[in-house]
Structures are given as structure tokens and as C-alpha cells.
């Protein structure tokens, strides 16, 4: 399949969500995410490369490279050979586009793991997971003859649908809707030590049944409950570091909302908006139950169809403004870099993204032991949290630029332990660097 069959003149403008990612990409702002599957069997790199080529033929949207035009960044088809890279010690680093041959994703392989890191300008978590499921499914088919067709993933033999390239934001733009107002600046973790761009991970594995039971008892979904626990952890940390209550700032979380569930598109591109939920610690003390209730109601309001369209109006309206359209990229690029924090990262204290329970057929699940999802942190929000469920487990993965401070992670997981959950921790942190601060 040739992408040029679907794209006029081989030129794909970035979707509305993706516009901000290329100009703001920097050392502490990688704008990448990673999805991976751990297998029970060793991975054969040759077969994986073959599977990758076949999957890319079916998903031509991913065979693109990023370029800078006079006014905007854009994507064009890329025919460079795709490589499989050995697994790295630190996930979600900056994507070296020269190393990948121009592609905006990188496939990693270790003895029993297949992982893909994506630059966020290409796709979102849902699109990335479709790619991974197809890749692992095709690999298992080649290696073991397993029929591994996932229900929500296109078949290799299916024709490519133009919907996969669509940018639904443009169709949902309504100039008559009023824009969502901007929110207040939020609390951010500070560190007196230099940050490290070798992203540190702390991963907690929790029983899905137990967590669902706990969330249900609190009257919330798993995402809402975990968001509330994380807000509470950051709230307690802020109370510790800012003794005077009146000086405490909003503790907010940005929660990506998969718009495919709301508007029903089938695009492989970014189709996500961010709902910001949070509390005002300067107003008084909060119990976890109160935070759960606040998060539940705030999320309900923000995920409502009309509220999302209003948010889209703001984003797409900005893209369509005459000033932005006709200002050259050489001016837009530094301005985006300088303004992106105040319009985005500054409004929340961290990001919590939940990809949900991963649904794969039994024949494929027999080979897959674990799924993971990681988000790159940013300079302002030094910790990100990514959640994914598979089989009976929910993996909560914290990624951080703080080499020797895991206080938020500690407060988060110990709170879950106190509420009766069994948490299993794994990390890529070097032994002995954590806890020195506390000791």
C-alpha cells in the first residue's frame, strides 16, 4: 500500500493536537510515549523485522517523516528501511529522527519484550496500541502460527481506509461555540538538584479486581480513583514543602480523553484532548474521599460532548487564526516554545493517562505476560503517570526526571498499600540513589 494513494501530493498537515509537539521538542520535553508487551517466549529479531515491514504496509500512516515548512511542520511519506533497536535502559527519551531514518517511532526489542516509542506528533496512545497489537500479533503468527487477530485492530489483508488518515478535529470545529477559558497556574515539583534526561521509572503492579472494587466502593472509575490518589499525594507533598496554606497552589492533573469513544472516529492520528481536574489546597484540607468525589464530578463535566467541542474550538480556532497561519515558522517556532508552558504544562501538576484494559484474543494472551505504557515527563511537570491494564493486573508507571527523589511515587503507592492493595514495585533507578534525601 502506498500512502500517496490516500494523500494528495504526498503532503499531510499535522493534526490539531500534534501542531504543538515538533516546535516544543527539547531535551527535557521529548514529547514521546512508549507501549510495550513482554512475552513468555524469546523474541526473534529477524521475524520481528519481517512482521514490522508487513504491519507498516497495512498501516501506511505510520510510514511518514516530519519536515519543517515555511509556515507549518508537515508529514510526508517515508520509504527508508525500518530498523529494530536493542532495548534501552531509560524509556521515553528524545526521538533521534536521523537514527530512525526519519520515522517518528522506534521499535525496541529485548530478549522477551517488544516495545515501540512514538513521537506524539504522529499518534496518540490508542493509535500506538493498535500498531503494537498488530505488530505483536503478526510476530506471533509468523513465529508460532498463532491466529492473533485482535477485535479492535484492522486485519493485515484489509484495505486501508481513508478514515485512518483523517483529522476529525477539523470536522468538529464550530466557530459559533465559545472557547473554554484558561485555568490557573498549578503547583509544580521543584528540585534543587539537576534534572536527568535519562528517564527514571517506578512501576507498580496492582491487582485489577482489587483496585476496581476499591474504586467502585468510592463511587468512581479506576482512572478517577488513581487520579484522586495522585492528587492527594501531590497535595501532601506540597503541604510538607509549603507550610503556609495561603501560599499553596492548585494541585491539578491533566487526564487525556480518548475522543474516539465520544465522537466515534477511526483515525490513527492524535484524537485526544486533555481534561484538567484538581483541588485548591489553599481553601482547606481534603480527605481522599472528597478528592475522589471532586475528580469524579469535574471529569464528568469536562468529558461532556459540548465541553469537548468548546475546547476544540479554542485549539482549532488558534490554528485557523490569520495571524498564526501567515506568520512564518521561524517566528512561530520560538514563540511556541516560550508560550507552550503558560498555555499547557503550567496549568497542571502532572499527567495521568490511562489506556484502559488491553483486550487481545486468548491465543495471543497465552504468549503475552505483561503490557506497559510510559509517558515522557517535561521540565515543568517532572513526573508523569501512565496506567494500563492487562489480564488481572493494572500497571501504574511513573516516569521522572528526578534522579534521586521518588517522594510522590512513595506517597502514591503507600497510600494504596494502606487501603489494602498489594503493590509490586519495579524500577530502573540505580540502587542507593533513592531515599538519600529522606535519610
Amino acid at each position: 500500500m502506498k500512502i500517496s494513494s490516500y494523500v494528495p501530493e504526498g503532503f499531510i498537515p499535522l493534526d490539531n493536537s500534534a501542531i504543538i509537539y515538533p516546535p516544543t521538542e527539547a531535551r527535557f520535553n521529548a514529547n514521546t510515549f512508549r507501549v510495550s508487551m513482554d512475552l513468555d517466549v524469546p523474541v526473534d529479531t529477524v521475524l520481528l523485522s519481517q512482521a514490522l515491514d508487513e504491519v507498516l504496509d497495512r498501516l501506511p500512516y505510520f510510514k511518514v517523516a516530519l519536515h519543517e515548512g515555511f509556515f507549518w511542520y508537515y508529514l510526508t511519506p517515508c520509504d527508508a528501511p525500518v530498523r529494530v533497536f536493542p532495548e534501552s535502559s531509560y524509556p521515553c527519551g528524545r526521538l533521534d529522527r536521523k537514527g530512525t531514518g526519519g520515522y517518528l517511532f522506534k521499535v525496541f526489542c529485548s530478549e522477551r519484550r517488544i516495545a515501540i516509542e512514538f513521537f506524539h506528533a504522529l499518534t496518540d496512545g490508542t493509535g500506538g496500541m493498535v500498531f503494537l497489537k498488530m505488530l505483536v500479533g503478526r510476530y506471533l503468527q509468523l513465529a508460532f502460527g498463532t491466529d492473533a487477530q485482535c477485535p479492535d485492530v484492522p486485519r493485515l489483508s484489509d484495505a486501508v481506509e481513508p478514515d485512518e488518515f483523517s483529522d476529525p478535529f477539523q470536522g468538529l470545529y464550530d466557530p459559533e461555540v465559545s472557547s473554554t477559558p484558561n485555568e490557573k497556574s498549578a503547583f509544580h515539583l521543584s528540585s534543587d538538584k539537576p534534572l536527568t534526561d535519562a528517564v527514571r521509572v517506578i512501576s507498580g503492579t496492582i491487582s485489577a479486581c482489587e483496585l476496581k472494587k476499591l474504586a467502585k466502593a468510592a463511587g468512581a472509575t479506576v482512572t478517577e480513583y488513581l487520579a484522586a490518589v495522585l492528587i492527594d499525594a501531590i497535595r501532601r507533598l506540597q503541604a510538607d514543602r509549603v507550610p503556609r496554606r495561603r501560599f499553596r497552589k492548585t494541585v491539578g492533573l491533566s487526564i487525556p480523553v480518548n475522543l474516539r469513544n465520544v465522537f466515534g472516529a477511526r483515525t490513527m492520528r492524535n484524537f485526544t484532548l486533555f481534561a484538567t481536574v484538581g483541588i485548591e489546597p489553599s481553601h482547606g484540607e481534603y480527605s481522599l474521599d472528597e478528592i475522589v468525589s471532586i475528580v469524579h464530578h469535574q471529569l464528568k463535566l469536562k468529558v461532556e460532548r459540548r465541553a469537548l467541542i468548546s475546547q476544540m474550538k479554542r485549539n482549532v480556532g488558534g490554528e485557523r487564526s490569520r495571524f498564526l497561519r501567515f506568520v512564518p515558522n521561524i517566528v512561530k517556532r520560538p514563540l511556541f516554545k516560550l508560550l507552550s508552558d503558560s498555555l499547557g504544562d503550567d496549568l497542571y501538576s502532572s499527567v495521568l493517562s490511562n489506556l484502559g484494559m488491553i483486550d487481545i484474543p486468548q491465543s495471543m494472551a497465552a504468549f503475552v505476560r505483561r503490557c506497559d505504557f510510559f509517558l515522557s515527563p517535561s521540565k515543568l511537570n517532572k513526573i508523569s503517570c501512565a496506567v494500563i491494564g492487562f489480564k488481572d493486573d493494572i500497571m501504574v508507571n511513573f516516569t521522572s526526571f528526578l534522579a534521586d527523589d521518588a517522594e510522590v511515587e512513595r506517597l502514591f503507592f503507600t497510600d494504596l498499600v494502606r487501603r489494602g492493595l498489594h503493590v509490586k514495585i519495579q524500577t530502573n533507578r540505580t540502587v542507593g540513589t533513592v531515599g538519600k534525601e529522606r535519610a
Binding site: A26, S89, A198, V201, P334, S340, K379, Q426, V434
Partner: protein
């Protein structure tokens, strides 16, 4: 399987500390060898390959805001240079000074953005750029006298204000032994370049020696101080005494150099102040009773 006794979380079988709180994991030596081979292999597989010191990441990349500011700065400088160049060159004006000023200004900004929060590197960068800029101006304008003096002053400034931050605190005596001869060398250069009679040997050198001697005495006094920590008040008064003495001596030597007569000019009150301070400091240093008399308001012990 090990657990953290502080956090209550389960840890990987080979964990020696809890990654959340840093608490050590204490297990009997044979407790790692329980379980079947297959399950243990799967369980003990590390989440990522062993961390390495350098993972091929871009360690020297700039962060987003700094990168944006640099791009903006270079963009605007480029436009300014182009406008300036086109407007000045055809008219036959001396375009070198304004053009090089713009370049130097851009470089100052670039250094400020490239070395975040690092006083010593920003200062070193600025002094180097100024050095280069003034040197080029000297070559262009043909006046080497002021160029040599200004460049020497910049070098002296670096040795006095920046060098101490490149060396550890324990090497401060080494810094002082570099700084003192450099000051003398700079003064002698200024004296050599200035017109009229030479003042370095008859005035500057004795005053410098007096200052070094006075500070040596102060250092010795601090070292042999008998009444606990050396008080800040004593230090300030000693410093004042040395300053009065140095300025007074300099003035007397300058009068002697100019007129050939030993006489006090305007420095009489400084000599009186220096003498009074010296007597006072001597008294409180020698007698515990005098010291207590003056410090009894604050420290009865």
C-alpha cells in the same frame, strides 16, 4: 519475595533497597534461591537493561524555553545585523564598531542562555567575549594603549572574582597567592603606561605590603583567639582598622612622593581612627575583663 518494611510494597527478588524510600532490604542469604527455575527466571528479569552511565541520550541539549529564547535572539540579531550592514556600508561609515557591538551583544545573550545558573561559566564567557571584542576594536582602531589596560583589567577581574569559584575552598590560600601578585602586576602596568613620574615603587608597593602584613596579623589573631569563636564585631573593627591604616599610609607616601616631605595631608582623622581601633582591639584581645565589659550586654557567658 522481599517487601519494604516501611512502604509495605513488594520488591523484585534481587532488590537490595526499596526504590521508594531507600530502606535496605534485609533477607537471609538463601532466601533468593527459593522457587522453581522457570518462574524465578521470569520474575527476576530486570524491568530494563542495567542502567549505564551514558545511554546515548543528548546530554547537552537545551531545554525548551532556553532553546526558544536562543532562536528568537539569533533571529532578531540576524535581522538587526542585516539592516545595520545594508544601511551603513554604502554610506562609507565606520561600520565595524556598531556591527561588532551587535555581535558581542548576541554572544553575551547566548552565553547567558547556554550556561543556566552557572555564575563562573557565564562570567568567564562574558569576560572572554569582552576580551575578544576590545582586542578586535584595538586592532581596528589602532590604539593599543587603552586596549592593553582594559584587557588586563578584565583578566584581573576574572582572577579576583571568578577564579575562586573554580577551585575548592581548601585551595583559597593558593587563590590568594595568585591574586596578590596579579594585583601588583596590574598596578605596575598601569604605572608603566601612565605618563609622569612613577608611583608604583614608592607608593603602591609599600601600601600593598602593609595590607598583606596587616591581614597576616589578623589571620594569626583569629588562629590564636582564646575566647571561643572569633566575633564578627572584632573582624569588622579589624577590617576598618586595616582600611584606615592602608589609606592613611597611601596618602602619606603620596605626599612624600609628590613633595619630598613626610607629612599628613587629609588623612589625619584616618590615622586617629586606626590608632583608636588598634588600641581597642589590643585591649579586648589581651584582657578578658575588658572584653566582658564591652560584651556584657549581649553575652554574659
Amino acid at each position: 519475595m522481599p517487601y519494604c518494611v516501611q512502604c509495605g510494597v513488594e520488591l523484585p527478588p534481587d532488590a537490595s533497597v526499596c526504590p521508594l524510600c531507600g530502606t535496605s532490604v534485609l533477607l537471609p542469604p538463601d532466601s533468593h534461591s527459593t522457587g522453581t527455575e522457570g518462574s524465578r527466571a521470569a520474575e527476576s528479569e530486570p524491568m530494563f537493561p542495567v542502567p549505564v552511565a551514558s545511554d546515548g541520550r543528548n546530554r547537552w541539549g537545551l531545554d525548551k524555553k532556553r532553546k526558544g529564547a536562543l532562536e528568537l535572539l539569533f533571529g532578531l540579531s540576524f535581522v538587526a545585523l542585516a539592516v545595520l550592514g545594508f544601511s551603513l556600508v554604502p554610506s562609507g561609515a565606520d561600520w565595524f564598531v556598531p556591527m561588532s557591538s551587535v555581535v558581542a551583544g548576541t554572544l553575551y545573550g547566548a552565553v547567558l542562555l547556554a550556561f543556566p545558573f552557572s555564575y563562573r561559566w557565564i562570567a568567564t564567557g562574558w569576560i572572554s567575549i569582552s576580551f575578544l571584542f576590545i582586542g578586535m576594536l584595538g586592532v581596528h582602531l589602532g590604539g593599543y594603549g587603552w586596549t592593553i589596560l582594559t584587557c588586563s583589567a578584565l583578566a584581573l577581574g576574572w582572577i579576583l572574582l571568578v577564579l575562586p569559584y573554580f577551585l575548592p575552598v581548601r585551595k583559597r590560600p593558593l587563590v590568594l597567592t595568585i591574586q596578590f601578585p596579579t594585583i601588583l602586576a596590574f598596578l605596575s602596568l598601569v604605572d608603566y603606561r601612565s605618563s609622569g613620574s612613577s608611583w608604583f615603587l614608592p607608593v603602591a608597593l609599600p601600601v600593598a605590603c602593609l595590607i598583606v602584613l596587616s591581614f597576616s596579623v589578623l589571620a594569626l589573631r583569629i588562629r590564636i583567639f582564646r575566647y571561643g569563636d572569633f566575633p564578627m564585631a572584632d573582624f569588622i573593627l579589624s577590617f576598618g582598622c586595616i582600611a584606615c591604616l592602608a589609606v592613611g599610609t597611601g596618602e602619606v607616601l603620596a605626599v612624600r612622593h609628590a613633595t619630598g616631605v613626610w607629612a599628613f595631608g587629609w588623612s589625619g582623622p584616618l590615622w586617629i581612627a586606626a590608632s583608636a581601633l588598634a588600641v581597642f582591639l589590643g585591649a579586648v584581645g589581651l584582657s578578658r575583663r575588658v572584653r566582658r565589659y564591652f560584651t556584657s550586654q549581649t553575652r554574659h557567658s
